[in-house]
Symmetry: C2
Subunit: 154 residues, 2 copies
């Protein structure tokens, strides 16, 4: 069943499209709150996986499988959180850099890298092989860091 | 494919178990932030569906199908946001009432009502019938209100 879900996710049932498709709707602050909520849920689920990968927490394949699904789904939910008009010029309390909107193709690539590695994590989590899963947790975390480095304020 | 996903969700792949299973881990504030994030994403996705049901926004079956999936998934993500030790006696800035933890069976029932109606919404959204979908949006919203009335501060 997990494989089918992964295929459906890969098939774009939950695809949120490309960044450019989103125009600002409603208050920019609401969009910022939305994307911060999405990142919060990603972090909530990634934290135990990161701890497992580092050996700071006992490895639990079933827990990884569950967390990975949420991370993958939230990766699909991210693009609509970056609608035009919701950058640091429009709102306070955002760590999002203006470059997200001035270099949309680059940001989109980084976002897709994350979506792809998160999807792979859901995939390998089904296999249950600890070494493979831990390696993929690391690869996924790298895509987080790569995007934050370029597009998030310190 | 949507049907398969719904079946998998119903089958508990993403089930977050019962409330009692969650003990407080980490800082209570982090758990509060997590559950508020989950509710924020539910609200973000429910808002356009509510507007469509009320005729304030053009009906879009594909959009409902997408939003409904996120609402359903987030309904499964809620229980771990109500770990013991994260109530109003432990943290500020929460609208959660103490009754959530003093009447866990009642809260669990309300939460499950929401999960069930949200799952049905994903299901009927596949059919594409506007009248049926709008009615189910209303039914799902009622489960939100029923829980808020009893367990959320005004």
């Amino acid at each position: 069943m997990n494989k089918q879900l992964a295929l459906m996710l890969a098939g774009g049932i939950l695809s949120a499209g490309v960044l450019a498709a989103y125009a600002a709707e409603g208050k920019p602050e609401d969009t910022v709150k939305y994307r911060q909520s999405v990142y919060n849920i990603i972090g909530w689920n990634f934290k135990p996986m990161g701890a497992m990968a580092k050996g700071e927490m006992p490895f639990d394949a079933a827990a990884v499988a569950r967390h990975a699904q949420y991370v993958e789904m939230m990766s699909k939910a991210l693009p609509e959180g970056f609608a035009k008009g919701t950058g640091p010029d429009a709102v306070k309390n955002t760590e999002a850099k203006a470059e997200i909107w001035t270099k949309p193709a680059e940001f989109d690539t980084k976002l897709k890298d994350f979506q792809q590695e998160a999807a792979k994590l859901t995939e390998v989590a089904k296999g249950g092989d600890e070494k493979t899963i831990k390696a993929q947790i690391g690869k996924t975390a790298e895509t987080c860091k790569a995007c934050h480095k370029e597009f998030r304020k310190d």
